[in-house]
């Protein structure tokens, strides 16, 4: 049986892992490779590295660290942030990333998704969607969310973009529910369930994890394939081995990582 995935997300700026959802008040958390290894040892199923400033600044991802991560990490990882062309994606994939994730650049030019899928296959292409509920009750897409001063609300409905992204070749969707992001009150199950019904590829929940029950709810209630979280893992509020133990007890299929299999440190 396919396991549900637990995916820590590491925000990267200038080659370091940083913390803080705001553009300016970030704190350096540590070296990318060290933190990646820590999560790997704890039993993370996959890692996402997100260059938090790449898109708003209109620059590409520095890929020196991608290769350093690829050399030591033996679980899959995805690189997000500022990938706007097939050439940039190729550089990141050849450096050793397993998947690339596009968000704002795909909104600027949706054909980017088709081009990436044609060049590398849909399995490499993740589309990230930042979504927020508007006053009229509809969920719509946001762009350039890496920088609050540049974030834009788009007229595009989240459900329409979900469908279009899949038709164009998204092999996986990460739905970041901005309304629940950063407040640790749980994933947005209502929105995730709405999106699940129209998502035929793997769906990853993002935004709102604060307790082990929230992961359980996302997997059981919203039937997502993976759950992404950052602060609860970085702060140590939730340890991945205990989280997986809890989920297993709740009947959720998760990957067991034996203590012997963890690397010596």
């Amino acid at each position: 049986m396919l396991s549900r995935r637990i995916i820590p997300c590491l925000d990267v700026r200038d080659g370091k892992v940083v913390k803080g959802v705001r553009f300016r008040d970030h704190v350096v958390m540590g070296e990318i490779v060290d933190l990646a290894l820590r999560y790997r040892d704890e039993g993370a199923d996959e890692l996402v590295f997100y260059d938090i400033t790449a898109s708003p600044e209109g620059r590409g991802v520095d890929r020196g660290w991608v290769e350093r991560v690829a050399r030591v990490i033996d679980i899959p990882f995805c690189v997000a942030g500022g990938i706007r062309s097939v050439d940039e994606a190729r550089a990141v994939l050849h450096a050793g990333a397993d998947k690339i994730s596009v968000n704002s650049p795909a909104l600027e030019r949706p054909a980017l998704i088709d081009e990436l899928a044609a060049a590398f296959g849909v399995q490499c292409v993740v589309v990230g969607i930042d979504s927020l509920r508007d006053a009229d009750g509809a969920w719509r897409v946001r762009q350039y969310t890496g920088d609050p001063t540049k974030t834009q609300a788009l007229p595009r409905m989240t459900s329409d973009w979900m469908i279009e992204a899949q038709q164009r070749g998204a092999g996986e969707i990460v739905l970041n529910c901005m309304g629940s992001d950063g407040v640790r009150q749980g994933y947005d199950l209502e929105q995730l369930s709405m999106v699940r019904a129209i998502c035929r590829v793997p769906l990853i929940a993002s935004g709102g994890a604060g307790a082990p029950e929230h992961f359980r709810d996302a997997f059981v209630e919203a039937d997502v394939d993976g759950a992404l979280a950052a602060s609860v893992f970085h702060s140590g509020a939730i340890a991945i081995p205990e989280l997986k133990h809890y989920l297993r007890g709740q009947g959720v299929a998760v990957r067991e990582v034996s203590k012997e299999a963890r690397s010596e440190k």
Partner: protein, 196 residues
Amino acid sequence: MSVVLVDAGGTNIGSVRYALQRLGVDAALTADAAAIRSADKVILPGVGAAGPGMARLRELGLIELMRTLTQPVLGVCLGMQLLCADSEEGDTTCLGLIPASVRRFVEAPGLRVPHMGWNQLRAKQPHPLLAGLGGDDQAYFVHSYAVPVGDWSLATSDYGETFSAVIARDNFHGMQFHPERSAAVGAKLLQNFLSL
């Protein structure tokens, strides 16, 4: 021991190379027929589609060479599918070393394609490639097409249907998952291949 990675354009070549380095093996990346023929072990990595994968091998003039190799050969992911007779993906004729036809997963409610994530490996027949494989061991899969179960299947996995996770015939072997991204389980299976 000399190990070569056939440079057929897959984007996972770097990852496979690093995984081998972690096992203490420095594999050369090559499309040179003489280098491939003289290697102790040959690995055909691959991410992408069957049609372009075979086209690339043809351009490099490696089709006949691959078919006539006698040392242990390992195809990974698409590389494994290319060892088969043909693939439904783009209606492609493959290398024909393992008499299987690669088929697309059939989407169903709750069954997302691509099959992406960690799934359990189940040994089907004993083989040195599976040495030390535990009953709960999982590997990381990313694929939309799969090799059906047949007498070539060494290990299987389940995703709506049971499909081949590890295959072998004579000196040709394949792993549908990514051993280079399957943590300790993947390292063990790669080491097993190096020890064949």
